[in-house]
């Protein structure tokens, strides 16, 4: 029993590491700031969750459906944005608008539970049932660990591939890249598609790990911000940044709670003030994240 708390904390770290890595593909690789990534987590979760809730169909069939919906959404947003020449802060606002629009929309979708939420039935928690994705916390931990590893491998491969070079060119100077004959539209769309697909998987995991979905929570803008904190603190565009960032942030949050409790400072809000101050410090003094200086020290 003793290890279970630590297990749940590590699973959470891995979850944010993976989702942060997915977001990183759109931002760090293709330079498009998405502040509404909770949209994909939510749609993925509800797609797989809805299938299970209404038709009893397990997560492995829900997975492709979730990916399909999320990629479609991502492509729509990407198309609308890139064709109309929307970038930078305008693109970010567009993503926020889509996420908020969807959040309120799902709040009114009674078929998927509405504001009352969707509760998925849990058959058992003892044995590893990979087909139905049901089992002890240890199983979920390994699942997330596997996903993180796969994401790392995928991103590593992408960075070294042609896509990686084109993305770098687009990120540095899109007009110059276009002048060189790179179809920037196509490559940006690819980044969006990959990012949303990966995030869809996060959503499916979320649905079957937590087993209750509420639109107010899963689509909320604070979730989107949570997702991007890891990569930004760790280091955008780097491979290990999101993982390091997620770990540091979660441990920091826990550490502050413990530290404050030990000092007896139990004033509501004080923990988040500390948290904000640390964030501020990192942003001001380590603008490229924590990982690059460490990587330099380790001569990577």
């Amino acid at each position: 029993m003793a290890g279970n708390y630590a297990l749940s904390v590590v699973t959470l770290i891995l979850y944010f590491a993976y989702t942060g890595q997915a977001w990183n593909v759109m931002m760090g690789f293709a330079g498009q700031l998405s502040l509404g990534h909770s949209l994909y987590v939510g749609v993925g979760a509800y797609a797989a969750g809805g299938l299970f809730f209404h038709y009893g169909i397990g997560p492995w069939a829900g997975l492709p459906l979730a990916i399909l919906f999320c990629v479609a959404l991502g492509l729509i947003i990407g198309f609308l944005a890139f064709r109309f020449g929307i970038s930078g802060v305008y693109f970010a606002l567009l993503t926020i608008a889509f996420a908020e629009f969807t959040r309120i929309g799902f709040d009114h979708l009674d078929w998927l539970g509405g504001p009352g939420g969707m509760f998925l039935k849990v058959a058992q928690r003892d044995t590893w049932d990979i087909l139905n994705f049901r089992g002890p916390p240890l199983m979920y931990y390994y699942a997330m660990l596997f996903l993180c590893g796969a994401a790392l491998a995928l991103c590593s491969w992408l960075l070294k591939s042609k896509a990686g070079y084109y993305w770098q060119a687009i990120r540095e100077n899109e007009e110059a890249a276009q002048a060189l004959g790179i179809n920037t539209f196509r490559w940006k769309m690819l980044a969006v598609a990959i990012s949303s697909a990966m995030t869809a998987v996060s959503g499916v995991f979320f649905a079957f790990y937590y087993n209750n979905l509420f639109p107010e929570q899963i689509f909320h803008i604070s979730r989107s911000i949570e997702i991007i904190l890891g990569p930004i603190i760790g280091g955008i565009g780097t491979l290990f940044g999101p993982i390091l960032g997620a770990a540091v942030l979660t441990l920091l949050s826990d550490g502050i709670t413990d530290g404050l409790a030990a000092l007896g400072w139990e004033i509501p809000g004080i923990k988040q003030v500390f948290y904000g101050v640390v964030l501020l410090a990192v942003i001001m003094f380590l603008p490229n994240g924590i990982w690059p200086p460490i990587a330099r020290k380790l001569k990577l």
Binding site: M1, A2, N4, Y5, S8, V9, L12, D107, H108, D110, G114, P115, G116, G117, F119, K121, V122, R125, P136, P137, Y210, N211, N212, F214, E216, Q217, D258, A261, A262, G264, E266, P268, G269
Partner: protein, 408 residues
């Protein structure tokens, strides 16, 4: 108590257990560690702190009543569901034998998962979403009404209210928050009202609104335009205040504001902010029995810890939180063990007749739900929540329609 002291106590208890001749520490000298998880900060902070008052007075009262020692481990889940999950995990990690909380249905669903996964009993003080006790959980218990029960009791009390005041309102406009709670209540009303043929009114318009909205001009305009006799309202605290003010601004004076069972209008903040305007609002909610023996004991303890406060303002919150801990302590007394499975079985056998809230004895059915919890018609009178129905527990007569009622 903080973690360091707690860990020290564990070490001492552990040493005692190791050296005791029977290898088992005598049960009655053991303490029951109750993990109290409430939203003491965030948007539910005010209500969480109210619930905490009920928890804080519990150890003293229970020691006197049952002779058992309980130790509270308090955790704040900051009105955030994810935090609720991790704090619950952590409480269990730190040795909580039973969890009590959390006031909010979303958090309750999350904590229930953790409790079920870890096999630790979880006694819900307040949460109305019916699904929580429909998941087949073995370790989750709820001593509170589900939304369906709340609606049923609420509507019945409305009928009693009309009878007691000799009034026959024909129309009502139904306004409700569009969140988990509001939705559950709306479903309940939709299912039950048509069957209550003895109730004289029909709902002429339904207006749902965002609980976080700061401007309810449009909603109140619509409600006023419906020309309904009274306002049937399912709300939370801040929106109730905004609505009441907006009603004054738009000069809408219906026969009354009746809640079939939602928080808000009986909370201290409502009186403090609205002053005289809070008068005569009616909430039909689970409540404590002012005349019960246990109520008097709890009230004494409450006033000792909170000399400048009144139990009336925290009746629902503190009352049910206290009772949840009482359930845990009572089970501990019978089980003579802190083993979670034994405790859970003992809780299942609970039958407490000496309680402070209205209704039948505390007995859990096979889903872990208590049936037969009563509601009271609570009206705001002289800036205090006052029980006006049922007559057995009432301390004043109901006033309806409220003074100032102007037929549109």
């Amino acid at each position: 108590m903080d973690r360091r002291t707690f860990n020290r106590n564990i070490a001492v208890a552990g040493a005692a257990a190791a050296f005791s001749p029977f290898g088992i520490v005598r049960a009655q000298s053991q303490k029951l560690k109750v993990g109290v998880i409430l939203p003491r900060s965030g948007y539910l902070g005010f209500i969480g702190q109210s619930c905490q008052k009920g928890a804080d007075l519990a150890p003293g009262v229970i020691k006197e009543m049952l002779g058992v020692d309980i130790e509270l481990m308090n955790a704040d889940f900051e009105s955030n569901v994810d935090t609720a999950r991790t704090r619950a995990e952590r409480l269990i990690q730190e040795g909580a034998n039973v969890l009590v909380g959390p006031f909010d249905s979303g958090a309750a669903a999350a904590i229930a998962q953790v409790a079920e996964q870890r096999g630790v009993p979880f006694v819900i003080n307040i949460a109305a979403a019916p699904q929580i006790t429909e998941q087949g959980y073995k370790y989750v218990f709820r001593n509170f009404q589900t939304a369906g029960d709340i609606v049923r009791n609420g509507l019945d009390l409305i009928g009693e209210l009309f009878q007691a005041t000799n009034t026959v309102p024909r129309t009502a406009v139904y306004m409700h928050v569009n969140d988990t709670f509001g939705q559950a209540m709306t479903k309940g009303i939709g299912a039950l009202l048509p069957r209550r043929t003895q109730l004289p009114f029909k709902i002429v318009d339904t207006i749902s609104y965002d609980p976080a909205a700061k401007d309810l001009t449009v909603e109140v305009s619509k409600a006023k335009a419906s020309n309904a006799d009274f306002l049937l309202l399912v709300c939370r605290l801040n929106d109730a205040i905004i609505l009441r003010r907006e009603m004054v601004k738009q000069r809408w004076n219906p026969m009354g504001i009746i809640s079939p069972g939602s928080p808000g209008m009986y909370e201290e903040q409502y009186y403090k902010t609205l002053g005289k305007l809070s008068e005569y609002s009616i909430s039909n909610v689970p409540w404590y029995n002012p005349a019960a023996k246990l109520t008097k004991i709890v009230e004494k303890a409450f006033l000792k810890q909170n000399p400048k406060d009144r139990l009336e303002f925290h009746g629902l919150n503190a009352g049910f939180t206290f009772e949840a801990i009482l359930v845990a302590a009572d089970a501990f007394r019978r089980a003579k063990s802190t083993d979670p499975k034994v405790l859970a079985d003992a809780i299942r056998q609970t039958n407490i007749t000496e309680k402070m809230t209205l209704g039948g004895p505390i007995k859990f059915n096979e889903k872990g739900q208590v049936e037969g919890i009563g509601s009271a018609c609570v009206q705001n009178r002289n800036l205090l929540p006052t029980v006006v129905l049922p007559t057995g527990a009432a301390t004043a007569k109901p006033v309806f329609p409220m003074p100032g009622y102007k037929k549109a």
